[in-house]
């Protein structure tokens, strides 16, 4: 291996960071990848498989092969439990890494920010999240399904018979200045709903929504099936109250009857949107880049135009993205980085 080759620091060990790291490493670039958590794979590694009779292409399982690829590549140094503490730029970047027990300094020629997203925390919405045991987010339910294979109510471990999904919680919402569609949530919820019905066929599911967003290549067919099996109501509920037996009373305006209505559910799933990563502001400050680059308000082209040439951003740090889109973004950005480094290095590995 060439000793004077370039080094790239990848911040974030989710699908995007891992994919970029592997591609860069394969091109002979040396990579240091950092992750603040104590495990690899980011949000994707928490997700359950949504297959029913066959794969529904949610993409979550790809993360495991990405982790294996990264771990086995000699050009990649992997640092869990690691925070970026300071970044200095002279000719190269000098980055101080806090690894809990020790502080390390590394040098890098380019930095890729793959810090991903933070799921919207819906405590402030009138849905009782955090107060009512049986109100969950899609991420909560995902973690649950991965662990237990079937759905159980947190309050009493009973199988819920009536489940409501509420879409756009924290997305398309001017009251919190989230003027974006989080793109992935319709797919997440509908796949999850069908997956639950596949294992627990007696489950009645109601889906409260604004507009169902297209996902996947077979959307049309999948959606037609969903419309047959799921009660679709085009409204966003007003609020939720808990009943004495831990059920949930959801009130909403029913567009069919043009009237206010209430309905009881055993469990309510909030389809929470994506927010810029909670570390975004801090990272932007350390990297000395405009914080707008990491707050979902600019399109990727404008962001690329305002970044210094040695700093790159990919994946859900740029805008809400599915797993497949994150892989694409990671590959494309790995290529941009490679192009930037190319004159100085690039030797056969």
């Amino acid at each position: 291996m060439n000793t004077c080759q370039s080094t790239v620091l990848v911040i974030g060990g989710g699908v995007t960071g891992l994919t970029s790291a592997v591609h860069l490493a394969q091109q002979g670039v040396s990579v240091v990848i950092t992750e603040t958590a104590d495990r690899w794979g980011g949000h994707a590694a928490q997700l359950a498989c949504m297959a029913t009779d066959g794969c529904v292409s949610c993409g979550a399982c790809v993360v495991h092969s990405k982790i294996l690829q990264a771990l086995s590549h000699p050009n990649i140094q992997m640092c869990l439990n690691t925070r970026i503490e300071a970044v200095d730029k002279t000719e190269r970047f000098t980055v101080r890494l806090n690894q809990g027990h020790e502080i390390r300094r590394i040098e890098a020629d380019a930095i890729l920010v793959a810090s991903g997203f933070t799921p919207y925390a819906p405590h402030a919405k009138p849905y009782g999240y955090g107060r009512f045991a049986n109100v969950l987010t899609t991420l909560d339910l995902n973690i649950n399904l991965r662990r237990h294979t079937v759905v159980r109510r947190p309050s009493d471990a009973a199988a819920p018979r009536r489940i409501a999904f509420i879409q756009c919680v924290g997305s398309r919402d001017s009251s919190i200045n989230h003027l974006w569609c989080s793109k992935i949530c319709c797919g997440v919820s509908l796949r999850m709903a069908r997956r639950i019905q596949h294992r627990q066929p007696d489950t009645e599911i109601t889906f409260f929504y604004i507009d169902v967003q297209t996902f996947g290549k077979n959307f049309e067919m999948y959606y037609a099936d969903c419309q047959k099996q799921i009660r679709m109501i085009r409204t966003i509920p007003a609020d939720i109250l808990e009943t004495g037996d831990d059920c949930l009373n959801v009130s909403y305006f029913n567009p069919d009857t043009q009237s206010y209505q209430e309905a009881l559910f055993d469990m309510v799933v909030l389809s929470t949107g994506l927010e810029p990563s909670e570390s975004a502001g801090n990272l932007a400050a350390m990297l000395n880049i405009n914080s707008k680059a990491l707050n979902y308000t600019l399109n990727p082209e404008s962001i690329a135009a305002m970044l210094p040439e040695s700093i790159f951003i990919a994946g859900a740090a740029l805008e809400p993205m599915s797993i497949a889109e994150s892989v694409a973004s990671a590959e494309s950005t790995a290529f941009s980085i490679f192009q930037y480094l190319e004159p100085s290095q690039v030797m056969p590995s």
């Binding site: 359950a48 292409s57 507009d211 297209t214 290549k217 067919m221 082209e301 694409a328 590995s349």
Partner: protein, 541 residues
């Protein structure tokens, strides 16, 4: 300047790329490859090179570029090590040697005019080229007052189409004859792309009316003068309305270019339901196909948005560079055909999911394209194909080894679980990480793909002492070899029948599909199966 791969290969001309396309993505890929001194043959099936391809002639390395118009691919022989492509240029055929093929054709937009029961007229336009037609006069009307945009009413729409619709409405509303009434009629307004929610709000605030339908649909009545009456019951107020549209703008559906489907057949690519040259299989992310070194990008794989164009170009060139470096190669022993036993029945040639078998004097496996799935070896009627570490006797050996480790006095049944490396094996690692363990007596034998689990494997497990055999493979649609899991299912079914025939319980064998992120299910499957076998009883001691 020597590029890195010249240093590797030392052989420039062999690394020829065949690029098929005539749009922005083809132009971008060609430019990027040329700047890396990689020679490109650009075959365009139309008569003219598109506008975007013109500047390529000015490229400093244009000598490495061979542009051929009116040229179609007729035949493909060989594999990723060396493709031989028959190109047809106005009935003149020639053979091109290349190491990589990129399909970068645009998608085709088809107007929904007839789906809405409308006829083309100066009052009815198509969304994607509305301004072009409208402003060049043919469709220009004196002071139209009302505009209806029909979006996703016949077929579910797409963010790309929604964006065009909203931009068109906003432009008409703010830049053209002021005071026009513009209505967008839609079902699910697709805003799942950057900036569309803000665009929607901007259009709404500028006075564009959005009328959304859930179950009901509007009806269209076209007047003799070509204008259209859109009648509907408003979803919210339940009041019937008729909107008389001086101009109606109709959306389009997206389909693959018919040539892409022809190419898919020639190259043996698995297509998706719509006919794009890439299935939704997650192993194909982002621009790969079932064939090594045949890539598919942009409109040929169903990606439409202009914003994604730049990404598509970069992903494609990166994948080409990786292929050239050989970094994506599957390591390990590859399939080999024994010429002594082969009777040239070509079963392997037909079944190889990767088209890694080349017909020379005899069928030969191209080790570069072989992915070790074992489909050929399992299906060969003469048993003429083997993969060194995956022969039935190698499997038999593994089973015997497991058996010797078990005490003859043990009352726990011995279960062999054939696990696919890409799903079940990873799930078992995930299980370990979360503190779940495979039940005692269940032994995993890892295989690269369930498509290679032959009847001999299954028999070897039973004859080697297993009381039950579990086959755990990927979900349908998630198999790297596309159909390996389905073949495994078929063989398990066959063995069940055979077991029943010889008086052994067919329940002793089970196939389950699982994904890498289903650790809990894997453990549960193993536990349930172990319980089942315990109930049936130990048969082999």
């Amino acid at each position: 300047m020597r590029t890195f791969y010249e240093a590797v290969t030392g052989d420039l001309m062999r690394e020829q790329i065949l690029l098929l396309g005539n749009g922005a993505i083809a132009a971008g890929i060609a430019t990027s490859l040329l700047s890396r001194k990689i020679p490109v043959t650009l075959a365009i099936h139309n008569h003219d090179a598109g506008m975007l391809l013109k500047p390529l002639a000015e490229h400093p390395d244009a000598c490495l570029l061979d542009i051929r118009t009116d040229t179609r691919v007729r035949h493909c022989a060989g594999t990723s090590s060396h493709f031989q492509i028959v190109l047809d240029q106005k009935n003149r055929q020639s053979v091109l040697d290349c190491s990589c093929i990129v399909i970068a054709e645009n998608a085709v937009l088809t107007s929904c005019i007839s789906r809405y029961g409308l006829k083309p007229s100066s009052h009815v336009h198509v969304l994607s080229n509305f301004f072009q037609n409208y402003e060049t006069g043919s469709g220009h009307l004196s002071s139209p007052k009302t505009v209806a945009i029909l979006l996703g009413l016949a077929v579910e729409s797409h963010p790309h189409m929604a964006q065009t619709a909203m931009e068109t409405a906003l432009k008409l509303r703010t830049e053209h004859e002021m005071g026009m009434d513009i209505c967008i009629f839609t079902r699910n307004l697709k805003v799942a792309a950057f900036g569309l929610e803000t665009l929607y709000r901007k259009a709404r605030d500028a006075g564009v009316t959005f009328i959304k339908f859930s179950d009901a649909s509007p009806t269209f009545h076209q007047q003799p003068d070509g204008t259209v009456d859109v009648s509907f019951t408003d979803d919210i107020s339940r009041i019937p309305f008729t909107f008389h549209a001086d101009i109606t703008i109709v959306d389009e559906t997206v389909a693959p270019e018919p040539y892409v489907q022809e190419l898919s057949r020639i190259f043996g690519l698995n297509m998706d339901a719509a006919g794009f040259a890439q299935t939704e299989n997650i192993h194909r992310l982002s621009v790969c196909t079932n064939r090594k070194a045949i890539l598919v990008t942009g409109g040929s794989r169903g990606v439409l948005s202009e914003a994604a164009c730049h990404n598509e170009i970069q992903e494609t060139v990166l994948t080409i560079l990786s292929l050239m470096k050989g970094v994506q190669a599957m390591t390990g022993h590859k399939a080999e055909i024994s010429l002594d036993t082969c009777i040239h029945c070509l079963t392997c040639y037909r079944l190889c999911p990767y088209h890694a078998i080349v017909l020379e004097k005899h069928p030969v496996v191209d080790s570069n394209a072989c992915e070790r799935c074992g489909v050929c070896a399992a299906e060969c009627p003469r048993k003429a194909i083997s993969i060194e570490d995956l022969t039935p006797s190698a499997i038999s050996q593994q089973v015997r080894q497991i058996r010797t480790g078990i005490s003859p006095a043990s009352v726990t049944p011995m279960i062999v679980a054939f696990c696919c490396n890409r799903s079940a094996v990873q799930a078992s690692h995930q299980a370990e990480l979360s503190g779940l363990s495979i039940p005692e007596g269940v032994f995993i034998i890892e295989v690269p793909c369930a498509g290679g689990i032959s009847l001999e494997y299954l028999m070897a497990a039973f004859t080697g002492g297993a009381d039950g055999v579990l086959v755990v493979t990927c979900h349908e649609g998630n198999c790297h070899s596309e159909r390996g899991n389905i073949m495994a299912k078929k063989r398990v079914g066959e063995l069940r029948n055979m077991l029943a025939h010889i008086g052994t319980e067919p329940e002793r064998i089970l196939l389950k599909t699982i994904a890498a992120n289903m650790p809990a299910e894997l453990i549960q499957t193993a536990q349930d199966f172990k319980r089942r076998i315990t109930n049936i009883g130990i048969c082999n001691r």
